[in-house]
C-alpha cells in the first residue's frame, strides 16, 4: 500500500475547495499519515466551524492514520544537513519515520530534497502527483 504525507497547505487547499487531493489519494487506496504537528498547523488557521468539521471529517477517514510519536533526533540532523530549516525538518523527518512513499506539498522549500541521495520518499506537488498517478 502506498503511504502519503500531505503537508498542511494541501489540507487547507482541500478544505477551501481549491483541490481534491484528499479524495484523490484516499480513492486510490493510499494510506495518509498525519502527525499532530500538521494537525495543529491546520487547526490554528481555521476559524469557521464548517471548515473545522471538514478537517475533522478528513482525519476521521479510515484511510488516515494519526501519529503522535516523537521522532528520532538523527532524522532532525539529517534533514537540517540537507538544507531544510525549522519546522520543515519535522515534516521531512516524519515522512521518513512513517515510511511514506510520497510527501505532497505546494511549498517550494522542500525542493532541496528533490534528487537528494538518501531521501527515501518523493516530494511532489498535487499537480505532479495527479499527472503521474499513485
Amino acid at each position: 500500500m502506498v503511504r502519503v504525507v500531505l503537508d498542511s497547505n494541501e489540507y487547507v487547499f482541500y478544505i477551501m475547495g481549491l483541490s481534491d487531493v484528499v479524495e484523490f489519494v484516499l480513492n486510490a487506496g493510499a494510506e495518509v499519515c498525519v502527525h499532530t504537528a500538521i494537525i495543529e498547523e491546520v487547526w490554528r488557521n481555521l476559524m469557521a466551524p464548517a471548515h473545522k468539521t471538514a478537517f475533522l471529517s478528513v482525519l476521521l477517514s479510515p484511510g488516515v492514520r494519526i501519529y503522535t510519536d516523537k521522532l528520532p533526533r538523527a532524522l532532525r540532523e539529517k534533514y537540517a544537513r540537507l538544507g531544510l530549516r525549522g519546522g520543515d525538518i519535522l515534516i521531512a523527518a516524519f515522512t521518513e519515520f512513517c515510511r511514506a512513499d510520497i510527501l505532497v506539498t505546494e511549498d517550494t522549500n522542500f525542493g532541496v530534497l528533490k534528487g537528494a541521495a538518501d531521501v527515501p520518499f518523493e516530494v511532489l506537488s498535487y499537480r505532479q502527483l495527479r499527472s503521474r498517478g499513485l
Binding site: 504537528a37 495543529e40 476521521l60 503522535t68 533526533r73 519546522g87 523527518a93
Partner: protein, 87 residues
C-alpha cells in the same frame, strides 16, 4: 447489494430470526461497526481541544499568501514546541 437503511433492517431481521431479536442486538452491532470510529473521534477531539484557533486563512484567495502564512505558523510552532517532538 444493500443500499438503504430499510434494506439493512430487513436483512438483519432475517439473519437474526425476528424483529425483536434484531432490535435487541442493534446496539451491539452499532458498537461493533462504529466502535473504532468512536474511539478515533474521541482521541481526535481530545487532541484538537488543546489547540488554539488563531486566524482564518481561508479568507485569503492567493495560494502563495496561504503558503506564506502557513510557514509563519510552522515557524511559531517550531519555536514553541517542535523541538520537543524529537527524542
Amino acid at each position: 447489494m444493500v443500499s438503504r437503511v430499510g434494506d439493512i433492517e430487513e436483512l438483519l431481521v432475517e439473519l437474526l430470526g425476528g424483529k425483536e431479536e434484531a432490535e435487541r442486538e442493534a446496539w451491539r452491532l452499532m458498537l461493533l461497526i462504529y466502535g473504532s470510529l468512536l474511539k478515533k473521534a474521541e482521541f481526535l477531539l481530545s487532541l484538537v481541544s488543546g489547540m488554539p484557533s488563531e486566524k482564518d486563512l481561508t479568507v485569503l484567495k492567493d495560494p502563495e499568501a496561504i503558503i506564506r502564512e502557513l510557514r509563519k505558523t510552522r515557524q511559531k510552532l517550531w519555536e514553541e514546541k517542535y523541538q520537543n517532538w524529537f527524542e
